[in-house]
């Protein structure tokens, strides 16, 4: 046992970290966003470009080039932050080699920050606006994403220098019960989808009085349109680790696991490094910060099954079995991993804990709404201008989120629906846009908060096809254990597929609705119970679209390929241009004797290429639904 108190030990770590960090800050720092989203947009190449250009100017001794995580402005990727002493740190987006060359030449070698290419400054200053000055800044409030993209995820000093692990040092001087009381008082609700109060879950676990207790972080993020958890793990892994250690101290656990999705290799690497670094600093492992509290963490990699996000399935898979859900009770808090009491929380849930301990339950409760304190984190995608990660206080309306934070829909298109909660969620129409974002209001509206995927849809999106997409996903990911989910989703999918081809009548819609309700009420686990949500909400709010498909053979959004055809309008076709002919992958477009282009409907695979290829000044390619050529229509009219 050490003679120093946890706080004293922590202060030493903190001083080390700060001086380490300051040494860095004397130099110019180029921070390239290299979370998965950045890498996909070419961030590693941009980093290499910076290194090359910096070396060409012989600046390598004055400039550090480091990798940071995702700052949430994914639409502007690849991006980098340049912090040069004497200037505010500035973020540049949409980088390419030309721009990198310029920035190195003008800003790093010269002293001109090239404001014309800057997106925003990171701190208040007299010369350039910050992200908070963006219209979305008014609505955004970053708690758990605050440091993402600004700190070096791969260096624990970067986290400690910003008060990281101070909550742990504080808590270790108190009784475990104090943490539990704070978390309970904060009314923190689980961010994995259902919103169950975290404090109550921990308490149930303590009451089970197990000799061994496990703490597991659910990072299986399987929603096919969400990546917040990945982003946090990649960009600020210590925040989650600190949260888990605090939880372990509160419930008396000695061992914890992070269950991370196999498709997230970068997250796995960053978290593993973070665990190793925390051990070296004495923040993890035996006698943490000199106390007699010991706790260690290990990563368990999932193997790609959406259902393993479900608590009991997750435990089964950790035990070396198929990821099959079990009926409950017993709950995990009584009988979880290895049959022992287990706390399972989402990545975000754990991430809030250090902040709550550091700043107090009262601070947390002042954000958001009384029943739903704190913030909501979404990955905002689809037909919206500013795609990326957003964090807003609970209670923000969908309208504010989409139009203010997301800056509305691109290309002047009409809003049609917003899909929240991924495959377990629902599609809400225009009339629901003033619903405040919180667990209870969304549930009342027929959607769920879910895992935080938020997809905006416009007039060009077909609701039947969207419902079918999500159902295909859940059907494919159903574990197959129980009757309703295994067979019910299959029949629902078959019916929906039929509707996208124009098959069915009013009875079909009734059957679909009945079956959806039964799958919801009869399935064993929440995968099956929530799978019908996309179908039920679209049937409720967009039934007319379903009817247009089956009664008129028409897809109003012109998406369902069996109900449309591609047609080149003769008056618009220029004759002289050949772009469409070249664009067609199946050589279905030919030039007629009169020079006009025409599509051989037999050969057309409806890939949309020619429509995209036809130059804007002509726009001669159109989609027709129902799939009837004008000539046939005339013939029929006669």
């Amino acid at each position: 046992m050490s003679s120093l108190t946890p706080k004293e030990l922590y202060n030493k770590l903190s001083q080390e970290a700060i001086s380490h960090d300051e040494a860095h800050q004397e130099k110019t720092r180029v921070m390239v966003g290299t979370a998965t989203c950045g890498v996909a947009a070419g961030a590693l190449k941009i980093k290499a470009d910076f290194i090359r250009e910096v070396e060409a100017k012989n600046l390598q001794d004055e400039v550090d080039i480091v990798e940071v995580g995702c700052i949430g402005h994914c639409y502007a990727e690849p991006l980098a932050i340049i912090a040069k002493p004497g200037h505010p740190a500035i973020c540049y987006g949409h980088l390419d080699d030309g721009l990198v060359h310029r920035l190195v030449e003008d800003f790093l070698a010269g002293d001109d920050p090239s404001y014309e290419y800057a997106m925003a400054a990171l701190e208040r200053n007299d010369v350039f606006p910050t992200f908070e000055d963006f219209p979305r800044g008014v609505y955004e409030q970053k708690l758990i994403l605050e440091q993402c993209g600004f700190i070096d995820a791969r260096d624990i000093n970067s986290y400690i220098a910003r008060d990281g692990y101070s909550a742990l040092a504080m808590a270790l001087e108190e009784k475990p019960g104090w943490i539990l009381d704070e978390v309970k008082a904060s009314n923190l609700r689980g961010r994995g989808g259902a919103g169950f109060p975290a404090g109550r879950k921990w308490e149930a676990c303590i009451r089970s009085k197990g000799e061994e207790i496990y703490v597991i972080c659910n990072a299986d993020e399987g929603d096919p349109g969400a990546f917040m958890d990945r982003s946090i793990l990649e960009s600020d892994p210590h925040l989650v680790i600190e949260g888990m250690i605090l939880c372990a101290f509160a419930v008396g656990a000695r061992k914890g696991y992070l269950y991370i999705r196999a498709e997230y290799p970068r997250a796995v690497t960053h978290v593993q490094e973070a665990i190793d670094q925390a051990r070296v600093k004495g923040l993890l492992g035996e006698s943490i910060l000199g106390t007699d509290f010991s706790f260690d963490l290990e990563i368990f990699q999932g193997s790609g099954a959406f259902v393993c996000g479900e608590a009991t399935a997750l435990v089964n898979s950790m035990e070396g079995k198929m990821g099959m859900p079990e009926s409950r009770p017993p709950r995990l808090a009584q009988k979880g991993y290895r049959g022992k009491p287990t706390v399972l929380n989402n990545v975000k849930t754990f991430a809030y804990v250090p902040l709550i301990i550091r700043k107090g339950a009262k601070w947390f409760k002042e954000i958001g709404t009384p029943e739903n304190p704190g913030t909501a984190v979404f990955s905002l995608v689809g037909k919206v201008v500013n795609t990326g990660l957003v964090e807003v206080p609970m209670g923000t309306t969908l309208r504010q989120l989409i139009y203010e934070v997301g800056d509305g829909l691109p290309n002047g298109k009409e809003f049609k629906a917003v899909q929240i909660g991924g495959p377990s969620g629902g599609c809400l129409p225009e009339t629901a846009l003033d619903v405040p974002i919180d667990f209870d209001s969304l549930q009342d509206a027929g959607a769920i908060m879910g895992s935080g995927g938020l997809v905006v849809m416009d007039e060009d999106d077909c609701m039947v096809s969207v419902a079918r997409y999500f159902l295909e996903f859940t059907q494919h990911e159903s574990c197959g254990k129980c009757t309703f989910c295994r067979l019910g989703t299959k029949h629902m999918l078959d019916i929906l597929t039929g509707i996208t081809k124009g098959e069915g009548d009013d009875e079909t819609l009734n059957l679909l609705e009945e079956l959806a309700e039964d799958v919801r009420d009869g399935s064993l686990c929440n995968l099956g119970r929530t799978a019908p949500n996309p179908v039920l909400t679209t049937l409720k709010y967009f039934r007319d679209e379903y009817k247009a498909h089956i009664l008129e053979g028409r897809c109003p959004a012109k998406v369902c390929r069996d109900l449309l055809l591609y047609y080149i309008e003769p008056p618009k076709c220029s004759k002289l241009c050949n772009v469409c002919v070249g664009s067609c992958p199946t050589e279905a477009i030919f030039t007629r004797d009169d020079g006009l282009k025409e599509i051989d409907q037999e050969k057309c695979v409806k890939c949309d290429n020619c429509l995209k290829a036809c130059p804007d000044e002509y726009n001669a390619v159109v989609k027709l639904s129902p799939p009837v050529l004008p000539s046939e229509k005339e013939r029929k009219a006669k």
Binding site: E326, S327, P330, S478, R486, G522, L524
Partner: protein
């Protein structure tokens, strides 16, 4: 703790051992509840067939009786509009993936599906759901029995017999979702697997998926091989 608890099922007062599951208590007292997957000696039911729904006073939704432990004073009804609707749909879903050529089936008149249909007055042939078309090969490699997957309802009884009674581990569930099947390692024919042909699985099968080959007396054992 008292030696027994009293529950009321369909108006009938019943004494039951604490800790017992409602399904078995009802069945022991001649109150019928449809079921395929429940295994009496297992502490936690698979709860996969979704046929054993009942209503319990104070619980807003129908619950599966195989997972519900009896509690003193519990009031249960086995039939209600909601229960019947769920059971009918679950049953019809199972039938939509079951080979319905009953006349060719060795389990004809001795099949749990026929019992459920009769007791709950649900037709075996229905037109709500289109039959799911699949091709399965018959595995008649063992000497005394055969396995026709087109009749399998995935209740898991055979696997339980293989694991817990025979202690062999020759068969198990494979694949996921709609493709889930009972099979051997590498999908080998049973006779080429580690199966000892003890036929306990055949005894366990509630339908005609695992069946004794013709002219074989029901008491046959593996001594022929």
């Amino acid at each position: 703790m008292s030696e027994y608890v009293t529950v009321k099922i369909d108006g009938q007062e019943i004494k039951a051992k604490p800790g017992e599951k409602l399904l078995w208590v009802a069945l022991d007292n001649d109150i019928y509840i449809p079921h395929l997957c429940g295994i009496r000696s297992e502490e936690r039911s698979n709860a996969s067939c979704r046929l054993c729904f009942v209503e319990i006073e104070g619980i807003p939704r129908p619950v599966t009786s195989c997972t519900k432990t009896v509690e003193d004073g519990m009031v249960v009804i086995t039939r209600s509009e909601r229960v019947d609707r769920l059971v009918k749909t679950a049953f019809e879903l199972i039938l939509s993936d079951h080979n319905l050529k009953c006349r060719e089936c060795p389990a004809n008149r001795n099949c749990v599906l026929q019992v459920i249909a009769k007791k709950r007055k649900i037709k075996l042939r229905h037109d709500r759901f289109k039959p799911i078309a699949r091709e399965y090969e018959l595995d008649d490699s063992p000497a005394g029995f055969a396995f026709d997957r087109s009749r399998c309802v995935l209740c898991g009884q055979c696997i339980w017999a293989d694991r817990e009674e025979a202690k062999v581990g020759a068969i198990g569930f494979t694949k996921r979702g709609i493709n889930r099947v009972v099979t051997t390692f590498k999908d080998l024919p049973l006779a080429e697997s580690i199966c000892t042909q003890c036929m306990l699985c055949v005894e366990a099968c509630p339908v005609g998926a695992l069946f004794y080959k013709k002219k074989e007396p029901h008491t046959a054992t593996a001594d022929k091989s």
